[in-house]
Amino acid sequence: MSNLQRNTETPSVQPIRNTTFGTFSRSTRRYTPFTKTPKSRRLCISTAVRDIHRTPTPSQQTVDFKGLTNKTWKVYRLTPLYRFSAETKDQKWYGRLLSSHIETENQKSFVLDEDIPEKAIFSWYKGLKVGPDDEEALQIIIKGKSRNGNGVDVIVLTAFLLCVDLEDNPVDKELQQHFTYYPVMIVKGPVHSQNILTSWLERQFDCRVNPSTFSSLQLACIVAMWSGLCTKPIQKSKQVELLYKVPAECEGMSKITYSLCAQDCKDLWDSIHDSGSDEFTEVETQTFIRSIESHFYYYSKFDSLSIESHFYYYSKIRLSAMQLYRVGTPVMMLGSEGRLKIFSSQHALIILRHLTELSVEKFVP
């Protein structure tokens, strides 16, 4: 059986981007026009928190990301913004532009069930700028009237444009002074207001805003990395959850929710992954997720900690034939259609960093 170990190198080795484009063009020429090649070294991600501690400043260590946790965000990915200026007076100017755009949109359409947006405020959100290539995170708040008609001012929509620990900026060096790259935008608010915001961003900065989607492979990687991340005693209420969608041929059942104790997952991951190193290979991720699924399936001889085998032993259901569409860990929850919820503020940086990385991979200049 062929050895599926992937050769991983530390992220400091350049040029990672060239590898991506190299394999991308070779693959499309050779095999099929419709595959997008995953990066061959995409799993060189540092899971350790020590990476974040390497770039501290005294003020940042006390930031807790209260605004980010315990809310359900929709994740978008952006292309670089053209002529985005970072000065304070331009912030006010952008706020006025967006407010006037909101007014014209309000006049065009009439949405009954949602709060009516009116005014936009741009501000900087401190604490998310970790790496040298990062941009300061931008916070956009849209305020308006609530739909009950009380006339009370409510926050209709909150959005953050983020760039956390970007390893190397994919925009060409000559163009970097004109383009600002925020790979990720997370938004919370009604759909109509979200559309207003994205259409304004696209018009103002000549960029493209697309909802992020995550494949089953990426979700499996996320659950492998972060199911054991909480080093404190894990509360009983927070479990590791995997949701699978059942194929249409099986009638009577539409999805399967598989919940596990987080401590067991952490033990399993520690036994698979060499905890001394910062990186992990795809083989380790696949071993983790397959053993979880086979515990569900049957108790096999060689992977005695197999979670999928355990499940099969009791239920005779093969989870590997299903599609994983949402994962929940004690620190966060992520769905394949782009819905994110962060529970723990101390791990928010790591999560956003990973999202930045996933978003950068999909970017082709």
């Binding site: 394999t23 095999y31 995953p38 492979l217 499996a220 590997s320």
Partner: protein, 179 residues
């Protein structure tokens, strides 16, 4: 051990026999119909199986297998796993141009559960061509079937003076390491 051997029986002469291996629900019968309807020089007979090794008791009635197609569905990890297990039961001479991977459900990268790169590594390690395609519309089925039929014709000996090994020597390898 009953490995599937390419040369232990007398060839049929009039037909080409193709064996399609894949787990349940992957589309073996769709592909089989498309292969039979495709434009091949010779009539094609199809057998399907979900895993190798094939059961021994029918072995004497089975004709010689000229070509093996392994079907992998990219949205199901299980199809990849069962194909990998079956590959171990295949005689090595089948990888000299007498087998291929037929990989389906390539259109939607979001629903993909199998990493294409690990698939490519396996195909490189075994020396088996990988053909990507879809089985949703009639045209796509025919397209995939015709590509497989080109290889089947050579493997069954219906193209004079061309052997499968000759085609293998001109196959361009998939280079995944940095140059």
């Amino acid at each position: 051990m009953s490995l599937l051997r390419p040369l232990n029986k007398v060839p049929h002469g009039q037909n080409a026999t193709v064996l399609i291996i894949g787990s349940e629900g992957v589309g073996k019968h769709d592909l089989a119909k498309a292969l039979v309807d495709g434009d091949a020089e010779c009539p094609v007979q199809i057998r399907t199986a979900s895993i190798l090794p094939l059961p021994e008791k029918n072995d004497s009635e089975r004709p010689r297998i000229d070509f093996v197609v392994f079907m992998v569905d990219l949205t199901r990890v299980e199809s990849m796993k069962s194909v990998l297990n079956s590959l171990e039961q295949l005689d090595a001479r089948y990888s000299l141009g007498k087998s291929c991977f037929a990989i389906t459900k390539v259109n939607d990268p979001d629903r993909r559960s199998v990493a294409i790169e690990s698939l490519m590594e396996v195909s490189e390690a075994y020396g088996i061509t990988a053909i990507f395609g879809e089985l949703e519309t009639e045209e796509e089925k025919q397209c995939l079937a015709n590509r497989i039929l080109r290889m089947v014709e050579v493997a069954s000996g219906f193209k004079p003076n061309i052997t499968p090994l000759l085609l293998e020597t001109v196959r361009v390898p998939n280079v995944t390491e940095d140059l």
